[in-house]
Symmetry: C2
Subunit: 380 residues, 2 copies
């Protein structure tokens, strides 16, 4: 094994863990925090709950909510201007991947200046960021764990991957009760996003013993709990999905992802579709493409999906992929690209862009834009 790195934030996990927020912010030196969230979290009552917790502890709070479901570059710059104007000292991100990615972008600009596109790619952030605390409201994005921030460059219609150790927050506070106000559709989309993180990072070229068992744990927990979480919305099942999402976040943040995410970024940059809708469509096709390069690991995934079987590794891998696809159909999510994209006329441009995405580097099987195009055609 070559030298490998593993970095995760400090984690506070469990029902009611948000009540530790103000104390944690103080420990990081907070007097006035910038809280980044969005309309959905406001409507569900979580924003006022968090504001209340900060007020109770006499912490000033400046609020920023101009964040789209795929956060834009200009929104990041607007948030950074607000942080500076308010002389805030700690950034709190509350939400799914979008507000948290926006909060990371804001922290990057606050600490390093310039434009957010200056930091596209890996390891471009040189100066320290202000302290960050993230509170994920979905069990999926893993952004509260990860070294990634995905920001849309509006002019170029690109979802930029910004990847840096500095984007791992000081603290992630994960409270599964947040999930109780989510629709079943969002719970499914988030869980499938986490599943894609786990699968892609498990077979990644940069996977390590520190990430592999997190990825397998995540796959197991999602398969064991997704039905109960959607059907009964039991807090136990939601809690298990939160653990799964956290484990998948630890894995992909340190092991990287693959071409499923390259395509998701490229498609999302052009069409602003919800990230979680893309994975049930692409994941099985991408897994089939990757199977020849990672038969052993795909067989391990197959074993998690199906239990032990007496058949070859390749066969177990194939049957596992089929079973995942069937699970997506059963969950009622769309499994064809044509259902979420207006046209297939620009698939070549999408695939040429995906070929250059950072996630393509760690994919276990070399993939040209022509390979990606065949994957998209199969998924159309």
């Amino acid at each position: 094994m070559l030298v490998t790195k593993f970095a995760i934030p400090e984690i506070i996990f469990g029902k009611g863990s948000t009540k530790h927020l103000a104390q944690c912010a103080r420990r990081l030196g907070a007097r006035r925090v910038l809280l980044v969230s969005d309309d959905g979290l406001e409507r569900a009552g979580w924003v006022s709950m968090i504001k209340g917790l900060l007020e109770e502890d006499l912490l000033d709070c400046v609020y920023f909510n101009n964040v789209d479901s795929n956060p834009r570059d200009h929104q990041v710059h607007e948030g950074a201007a607000l942080y500076r104007e308010a002389q805030a000292d700690v950034i709190i991100g509350l939400g799914g991947g979008s507000p948290i990615d926006a909060a990371k972008g804001i922290a990057t600009i606050v600490g390093n200046g310039g434009q957010i596109r200056d930091y596209e790619g890996a390891n471009k952030i040189m100066r320290p960021l202000p302290p960050m605390i993230f509170i994920p409201s979905t069990a999926g994005s893993g952004s509260d764990m990860s070294q990634y921030s995905i920001i849309t460059d509006v002019e170029r219609q690109v979802k930029m991957s910004i990847i840096s150790r500095s984007l791992v927050p000081n603290l992630s506070i994960i409270d599964p009760t947040m999930l109780t106000t989510k629709t079943p559709e969002l719970i499914i989309a988030s869980a499938v996003d986490a599943l894609a993180h786990a699968v892609e990072s498990y077979v990644s070229k940069a996977a390590s013993p520190f990430t592999e068992h997190q990825a397998l744990l995540s796959i197991r927990l999602i398969l064991d709990n997704i039905n109960e979480a959607v059907e009964t919305r039991s807090l136990h099942a939601l809690e298990q999905l939160s653990i799964a999402s956290t484990a998948a976040g630890m894995s992909f943040s340190n092991a990287g992802l693959g071409i499923g995410h390259s395509l998701a970024h490229s498609i999302g940059g052009r069409y602003d579709v919800l990230h979680g809708l893309v994975h049930p469509i692409l994941l099985p096709v991408v897994m089939r493409f990757n199977l020849p390069a990672s038969e052993k690991k795909m067989a391990c995934i197959g074993k998690e999906v199906l239990g032990p079987r007496i058949c070859s590794e390749r066969c177990l891998g194939e049957k596992g992929i089929d079973a995942l696809h069937e699970m997506f159909v059963r969950l009622g999510v769309t499994t064809r690209l044509r259902d979420i994209l207006p046209t297939n006329s620009d698939m070549e441009a999408i695939c040429r862009m995906a070929e250059r995405d950072t996630c393509t580097i760690t994919n276990p099987r070399q993939a040209s834009w022509q390979d990606l195009l065949r994957i998209c055609e199969e998924a159309w």
Copy 2:
């Protein structure tokens, strides 16, 4: 599940990972580091290797090596005085648990003043510590991962447990090639220490989904690799033991330990025996005592030791404990207390002290000093 916390350092792992040391120290603001190590590491050539790496990068290095195998309070104070006198800015601990625990003690005094005994117990460290980088030279103590520092109070003949989030270093650099200069006896003692960390934290009252699978992973890796590591000293097997020790460290640091470690601390405070010698003696007896309170988990351990069996949980747990004991016998380590202690005349005092040890709180079964005495009698 109640609210649970999980904190680990950033990790750089792998053969040759030490070459990143100087760069990492610089990232933490180092200009002059205090390097804490001991005679054994000097003889093996690792101290001069590390000094060379720092010099190459033009980093000043002040060296402190007055550390016994159970580090003493006055040694910590001496190291802290040297740090201040030299105006050092980062502490590097190189070694097994002893130099690293001493380095943590030094950092505590440097950041907080007073005497090291002022910080005995949990969460007594209030002010920040200087940046710390640890390089473990054994696959066992887990001190490079953990919130624990064990320092002997010479006057009271007590091994004090100092437990604080602040003792988790900024960075742990784990290079399995360090293990190649260790004797088979030390490899075994360290691996059994890691195994005891994994087992005790797995059944701990404070175990969480974030620690449990780390503990099981650690148990599996130790059982799979200890023979090969001792017999062939293959770098692959040593690397697997390093991963196991790291995983066990993540687990016990966040889940706590049990009465095996309470007794080990109490015995070690009085008799200065090597920590790693105590566990093969105590672990099976302690596991038998804990079995009624954690049958399900002991059965999971039994499954790791023996593979799946068709028998009751209790039976699987019992057979697993027996198999562990047999493994210790096969490895040629002593399994009787009488072989390492000069007398059993003061066992009552040892057990009364162990009852008050912090590790007793997280033990899965309530244990009085009389219970501990029966355990010691059984192990005598």
